[in-house]
Amino acid sequence: MPKDGSVVRLDGQGKPLWLVLELTYRCPLKCPWCSNPVDYARDGEAELSTAEWKRVMREGRELGALQLGFTGGEPLLRDDLEELVADASALGYYTNLITSGVGLTEERLAALKAAGLNQIQLSLQSSDRELTDTLVGARAFDLKLKVAHQIKAQGFPMVLNVPVFRHNIGQVADILALAEQIGVDYLEFANIQYYNWAMVNRDELLPTREQIAAAEREVQAARERLGDRMTIYFVIPDYYEGRPKACMNGWGSIHLTIAPDGAAMPCQEARIIQGLEFPTVRDNSLAWLWNESPTFEKFRGDAWMSPTCRSCDEKEKDFGGCRCQAFLMTGDAANTDPACSRSPHHHLIGEAIARAHAPGRKVQPLVMRNDGNSRRLAQGGQGGGGAGTGCGSGAARVEVDHV
């Protein structure tokens, strides 16, 4: 997933520089903060075929795309991954594989290397075996470590992505030490963003301001100690910033994501915005989707902005924040992102924080991402969260795996 920490020192000039392919929503893990749609298991269109993905990649290059991410779900579940990577390299993309590591073997790594894969982003959730395995709902820790060493042994640049939340935020120092030992090039602590599964579990996952400050101090100390050896990103949680993130560098500005069924989206979460249509690459050319589809046009420029943003001198920097968060929390995607202290809805953020840390709050089990919970949440009309409710209320009705 392209991050807020991403560096683009280049005006997109209207080109979709960053193309992200969500090859599948299938995944062997069950992360309860997963950014995939809550209703991913709902019966829908089939995944794009190899030939269809190849067409998307070709058309993307024609539109000027430079970076290509293969993600999901778990992209390794597609056995045409190597073939797609080879095609992408031949087209001239910088190719990124974003993976949980499950399904990666020496053989596949060698094949991916031969296909020209440029870098691998591996997710790791904790420095502790038991906690990792509990959090992702499978025995994954040992495998992830093994894979991390193999990735380095094959000479791939590696980003270690650590989604940060209440359960692991105290482990920043240990995770740093582990990353150093592996020889990670980029370490990214990404405070999770509260959409989809993370929103369902927000009360359990949201850390406190003090926890974040302590983690940031550890990161700062490590930066001084490690110098050039490792680049460490710390993606701040917008709930505590008072300022919204410059989400995706602006809607339809440089990012283009294609969902498993071919739907074209300005970001990976955009489908949670009700009332927007997401036409697919099966029915349309990428050029039309990017340049002309009403969905991509909708929040370009500033005409759509609320008066709060339109009159604000920050609008060129943050584009009014995140459309998905505005929709999820206020019910209208065109509103100022409530993470902004100037938003008339900013109190919703404070209330969410207070709720998550209310004294005497009863700890609830995490709602794991799995097919059963997905169908139940979809049925409950919680497909990604109804307006205003932030879908936290759905949690009581769903099956709980464990934890």
Partner: protein, 100 residues
């Protein structure tokens, strides 16, 4: 080996090499050289592209200055200064590394 010790300014005999993490190439759709790396894209102006293209681990800083002076004749002193400044900035950004 690349140096990870405290940075010092470039010297005439130093050799620089592109950080292996980065892909450097000409990009027709941008009409420019670009650097591509995990999570990033950098579009380089012509001079920056000229310099990075020559950070091949073989040419010394002195070689590089000589070539750029030929390419941009007229003000040798300014070119020299520019090359040193650019190398320092690029190294600080992690794009290139000094060979030990």
């Amino acid at each position: 080996m690349t140096d990870i010790t405290a940075p010092s300014p470039p010297a005439a005999g130093d050799r620089y090499v592109l950080n292996p993490m980065y892909l450097f190439r000409w990009e027709p759709t941008q009409d420019a050289h670009v650097l591509l790396y995990p999570e990033g894209i950098v579009k380089l102006n012509q001079t920056a592209g000229d310099i990075i293209a020559r950070c091949d681990g073989h040419r010394t800083v002195a070689d590089l200055v000589g070539e750029l002076q030929q390419r941009y004749p007229g003000d040798d002193e300014r070119v020299t200064e520019g090359v040193y400044k650019f190398l320092e900035v690029f190294r600080a950004k992690g794009w290139i590394r000094r060979q030990a």
